[in-house]
Amino acid sequence: MNSRINHHPSTEQLKLFNEGLLSTGLSVAVSAHMDFCVECHETSNHMKSELADDWIKTIDAKKSMDADQFSHLIDEITSQDQSVPVDQIDGLLDEKIELHMHERSVKLPRVLSKAAGKGVVWKTLPGGINTANLGMDRETQCDFMYMKPGSQAPRHKHHGLEVTLVLDGTFCDELGEYYPGDFVLRRGSETHTPQSEEGCLCYSVLDSPLIFTSGFSRLLNPFQKYVFNKKAHQRV
């Protein structure tokens, strides 16, 4: 399981993640990857401590408010009850949910359980691929992608960035084979044809529409941009 993870977020992505500067869709992918990957989890914690140290050392801006406001605010805060509201407890006790497909049920990482908590709607794409959109933000298109056993996605490329996090099963493409926890990054112009013998559930994040490059699937291209924009703007 854990030992088979070969693909991880880059150091730069982990840093941006810890600074809170990645898009929500990508942050969810990194967070879910760390549910599988102890190494990245530890690296990330270490990085966060370093960022906190830098924060304390380097930023020393002007006072945010005058002394009167300070004092007033302190009084206001300390007059409040200190008990922690249940909804602010660190997500420790949130439940994980299972996603049911035709052939299998998959227990989702915590963050994706939360995202899928209200239920998902599956749609069918060419090649035995099913997707269910998750509205995360306005910058990315985030989907669960389920490849049925023996399925092959149409050959495609992207202008931007595609992150695929394997949640269950395996898939392969021209560049390798991917196992649960693998955080697979494809950048613009890389063309690939994912396929899965045993079936595979992934969480996928796109920051621009897919461009299909083979057969009848190319007919989908004019619609991809429309669908991407529509999904990205529906999320209010």
């Binding site: 399981m1 530890e42 140290d53 801006a61 300070f70 509201p85 249940v86 306005r138």
Partner: protein, 196 residues
């Protein structure tokens, strides 16, 4: 104002961890004022960096300092330095503030994404073995918990009920169940930590 300045001056040599623990353990207002002095301008600067808006940055100071006050009882030294803990709270509030500004859907928030605990990671075989040894320890400590906390652990972990089902079966509000569970787990983790 002078009283505030005099009292926080007395705290000058105290480290952030001691201040935060004093706030958490005994609602120490002077310690909180000292933390406020040390962190408010940094939080404000962080807000300006992200939002470039004075009012939003002041809101961030207020919101983050309130959460520090409220969550201080949850802080302990196992969670790292006080500044890393505060940095996380501020980063999370900032993240949510930006999401709100961009009118993103509210189904998910920073606390869901930036989870503190590594306890739920998928386990490999070596970790599995360690876990089995720990289960025996947990069972010993479990018996020492107050009956109300034993009960929630039993329903959620042994009978494997959802939080809602467990709350219904025990005839207690969901919030009560969650806080009892939280207390019980914190206690168990503390005990196991001490033993190791």
């Amino acid at each position: 104002m002078e009283i505030h300045e005099t009292s926080t001056r007395a705290m000058e040599g105290t480290d952030n961890e001691a201040l935060l623990i004093a706030v958490g353990n005994s609602q120490d207002r002077t310690a909180f004022s000292a933390l406020f002095d040390r962190f408010a301008s940094k939080i404000y600067a962080q807000g300006m960096k992200i939002t470039r808006n004075d009012q939003l940055s002041k809101d961030l100071v207020q919101e983050a300092m309130l959460v520090i006050w409220q969550k201080a009882p949850l802080y302990d030294l196992d969670k790292g330095t006080a500044q890393a803990w505060i940095f996380t709270l501020v980063r999370n509030r900032c993240f949510d503030m930006l999401r709100k500004l961009k009118r993103q859907p509210d189904g998910i928030c920073a606390d869901d994404i930036f989870v503190e605990s590594g306890s739920e990671l998928s386990v490999n075989p070596e970790q599995q073995q360690m876990a089995e040894i720990q289960v025996e320890q947990i069972q010993q400590y479990y018996k020492k918990l107050p009956p109300a906390q034993q009960e929630v652990i039993e329903y959620v972990f042994m009978k494997d009920l959802t939080h809602q089902e467990a709350a219904r079966n025990l005839d207690i509000p969901l919030g009560t169940l969650k806080s009892r569970l939280r207390l019980a787990l914190t206690k168990l983790r503390e005990n196991i930590g001490v033993e190791q």
